[in-house]
Symmetry: C2
DNA sequence: GCAAAAGTGTTGTCGTTACACCCATGC
DNA sequence: GCATGGGTGTAACGACAACACTTTTGC
């Protein structure tokens, strides 16, 4: 690399700083109506033995999204091409990594509850597992580095996006019921919603869900079979689904 | 810095890559009802003589936000402590900078139309100026690097935030009229809104604006004086102001 | 009075809420 | 029948779009 530093500062006295870059992942899924995040146990210093977000260093020829997708596949075995993946933000505090100057670009990945969603043993992790996000009304904390801040920001972003976008379907398998979609909102918002009004709202929302004509029996085979839907083409909800009203089941 | 690269990859064959980091700024303001973005003309290669977003390299002891604030002050003379400044995202494509591996963290800065808002001559810029964002219905493009993509993303972010947050007041001086606030929406959304309905909506919105009891005469001293307001404490709008209906003046 | 901009009234429409109710199924 | 979850009806309420109208000022 040419010396772009002194060239860009006529004073000549201030050099830019080279840093290492990581892509960290907040991978969310819902299991049995509970919001889970994929965490690894660090296998080495710093923070050895502590929970952290999965992630890893940027390599030659990769941009941040490439690195995030690679880490996603390495640590979970999930196909990155089929998952919703979007930036949360960058975290760059000087002291955030005791090894030196490392900034991270955090990504939010949303996954359906797949048959085998448990993160595999990763290259830089001792083990990996799904962990409950909420403990009561609060968000799980006590992660390595500044990862609890990243987690909180990512959860907030996911909560916001449910209001204004159709991203909730990313938590679902290709075919899903309206009840399952409601469970997504309830899990991510950590609340409960009125069943009837939710049903009408998403059904009437343009481009949100598309009926497949097929049905599925409820768990336990007790009750009326539900209509199955797939995700529509829409991205933004014209009428946002606002948090604020919580009703009984 | 210790060698964290090989240490974090047991295979030992893949090293992390060190990169340079810049903070780039999309500084928006409104002048006479027109949305403007601060652009510099590059004073050196690459892209010498072309328009670009103001920005610069991260220095020792700075995080991204520090660097953004420093650049903001250097290039515009604006007080970063008084401006709304938020992340847009990171841009990290391998070929985005011909000098080598440089990633950027883009920030959106929103400024009121100050008495002397013209960006000052910056250290790495030949000149700086406010440039119209919209040309007809389209967004101005043809910037250096991937800055036109950054600009488009930042504009979209600003447009979205106007719907759901009280950020519009950041475009205004400490005291403003409802008409001026409406001009903010009209400039950023590049549309026109119904005067009467907008008036009622923001007036009734909780925590958005607070009356000061003072009034100001319209430009030209023709017409009824308008009530003056200041920004309220609220951040999120409970009832979003949705784009979609455009009415006459 | 007139022009201009601020601000209010009014009405129909549409989305939302709360809650009652019906439907389809397995047991 | 009964339990269970899916799905619809409905009436009160609130937000909103459209647009007419009034108010307050300088000239």
């Amino acid at each position: 690399m040419t010396d772009v530093g002194t060239a860009s500062t006529p004073m000549g006295s201030i050099d830019p700083i080279e840093v290492l870059v990581t892509a960290d992942l907040v991978i969310l899924t819902i299991q049995n109506g509970i919001l889970k995040v994929a965490l690894v146990v660090r296998g080495e210093d710093p923070f050895e033995g502590q929970f952290a977000l999965p992630g890893g260093f940027l390599r030659v020829g990769e941009n941040n999204l490439d690195a995030a997708k690679r880490e996603l596949e390495e640590e979970t075995g999930l196909d990155p091409g089929r998952l919703a993946l979007e930036q949360v933000g960058s975290y760059s505090d000087v002291d955030r990594d005791p090894r030196g100057r490392v900034i991270t670009c955090a990504f939010l990945a949303i996954a359906p509850d797949l048959p085998n969603p448990r993160p595999r043993r990763g290259s830089d992790a001792r083990s990996a597992s799904w962990v409950n996000v909420f403990h009561g009304a609060d968000i799980k904390v006590a992660l390595a580095f500044d990862h609890d801040q990243i987690l909180r920001d990512a959860i907030r972003q996911a909560q916001r996006k449910l209001q204004y976008s159709t991203i909730a379907t990313a938590f679902c398998l290709p075919e899903f019921t309206i009840g399952e979609l409601r469970e997504v909102y309830e899990a991510v918002w950590n609340t409960s919603l009125d069943r009837a009004n939710f049903h009408r709202k998403v059904k009437n929302a343009s481009e949100f869900i598309v009926p497949t004509g097929r049905t599925r029996h409820p768990k336990g085979n007790r009750g009326r079979p539900a209509e199955l839907y797939r995700a529509g083409e829409g991205v933004e909800l014209l009428n946002p689904i606002l948090r604020g009203t919580l009703a009984r089941s």
